[in-house]
Symmetry: C2
Subunit: 285 residues, 2 copies
């Protein structure tokens, strides 16, 4: 059996944004690279049955590199804006205001937002395949390594912010009750793979805090040594907690009510952007 | 004299893309941050006389940070794609094909292109103000430093590609004549500030090559020890040169003719993208 004659072999990387209702599988252009020109043609023909736009490239390697560039671009830009958030913190500037202002530039800019870390099964993972491959060729993928380093440090930064918030009330982690809102890696999905909320919960627990969580999408989860069940999001729980940490900005949360009810809030997602009252209780990233 | 009462003080950063005919000063939103709310209002009122969209922010610091974020975003993304170009070179993949394929992703991606380095008076310079300020606060701006390091290494990479090109003909730099096309930092402008072409010319000369240049926008320039005059772009000059290096992709160049006439071409800008014949003579970044 010979490839390109008896069998036709091509590669097409996944290109999907979970939760995106505008761009789904059928209207997202599909990159296809075959071992031979005929392979590319046969595979493209197959995909054209269901996908409106097929983009042929010259090889399976070029197709895979396309996906790796897309994901590395996101990984690096998320890490960059996380570093900018750390800078703004030092400078006493609101990073969210700066990003919104920069996003008014009609050319050459694309907004990314800081957060408690990176999750999902693509962005935190795929660039490392590329870095590994390049290491075998004696090439150090410095942007991928730096992006990973900075983003992996974000959960610890969030925990430090929680410590600062508790400090206002002359409290520390030990003996404090902390409610974490949202454990999925992004809003309005059920996926907790690589979710930074899990790291944050682990760190808070290791410092002796009494941690509970609520997530409308995740009734229960079990990761590493953690085995937790979502608690009810009621006035007693929110009001009694020493600190409420917003780790995922699910759209179903009533942020106005959360801020009104909580003693203090650490908001890692700018989820309280629209909230009017009680903002003095909110610590943002 | 008191700021906000007797005098009104505000800051608004420059936001301009030289050569851009779609977005000019009047239709590019202008970010304004005053020392007080009245300062912001007075300055916004002033700008609104000529600029269609004014974006007020809470302070002069936030306004400056907006510009620094915009320019750092560009600096980092250009450096990232330069590193991806180096990776693709190791992997034997055409980086330009990969970028074009990635650019078909309708969300979450913005294409940047590799090149011989970074020029102009903003992108290579501004992020370093920010890095300097943060250093005084004991914070190391790692993305800015890495971006600068990678981009500053590109001229040497281009020179190495020229060496590889000459090597095909059993030649080296010494005794070879090299024609550099374009010394401005980007196409169709007259600006040579921080232009990487100058670094490339200096390196080629220091290795003993006989270097000349042609640029329809720059008849003559004098930078550091260099004092050069643009030569004519004729068949004799192009055909006689051992290597032609395209450093700026001016739209007035006839790339088809250049490739046809030259012995070999190092194309740092994918300027020969549309050329059909003679591509075996072209070495791309």
């Amino acid at each position: 059996m010979k490839v390109g004659k008896d069998v036709y072999l091509a590669f097409s990387p996944e290109r999907i944004d979970p939760g995106n209702t505008v761009y789904t599988v059928t209207n997202t252009p599909k990159v296809v690279g075959g071992m031979t020109e005929t392979c590319t043609e046969v595979a493209s023909c197959f995909y054209r049955q269901v996908i409106s736009d097929v983009v042929p490239v010259s090889s399976p390697q070029a197709a895979e590199m396309t996906k790796l560039l897309e994901n590395t671009f996101r990984s690096v830009n998320i890490a960059l804006v996380n570093e900018v958030a750390l800078m703004c913190d030092r400078l006493g500037i609101d990073v969210w205001e700066v990003i919104d202002a920069a996003a008014t530039k009609p050319f050459g800019f694309m907004p990314f937002y800081p957060g408690p870390g990176l999750g999902g099964h693509c962005i935190p993972v795929d660039p490392h395949y590329l870095a590994w491959k390049l290491r075998t060729l004696n090439f150090n993928s410095r942007f991928i390594e730096l992006a990973s380093e900075i983003t992996r440090s974000m959960p610890a930064y969030v925990v430090a912010k929680v410590g600062d918030a508790l400090n206002q009330f002359e409290k520390n982690f030990k003996g404090s009750s902390i409610l974490v809102l949202g454990v999925t890696y992004k809003p309005d999905v059920r996926d907790i793979r690589e979710s930074p909320a899990i790291d944050i919960i682990e760190m808070l627990k290791s410092k002796g805090a009494d941690v509970s969580y609520h997530d409308p999408y995740v009734d229960r989860f079990s990761v590493n040594d953690l085995d937790m069940t979502s608690v009810a999001l009621d006035e007693g729980r929110v009001g009694r907690s020493d600190c409420v940490v917003i780790t995922t900005n699910h759209s179903s949360f009533d942020y106005e009510w959360i801020v009104k009810t909580a003693k203090c809030v650490v908001d890692t997602r700018n989820a309280t952007k629209g909230v009017q009252a009680g903002l003095e209780k909110v610590v943002k990233l």
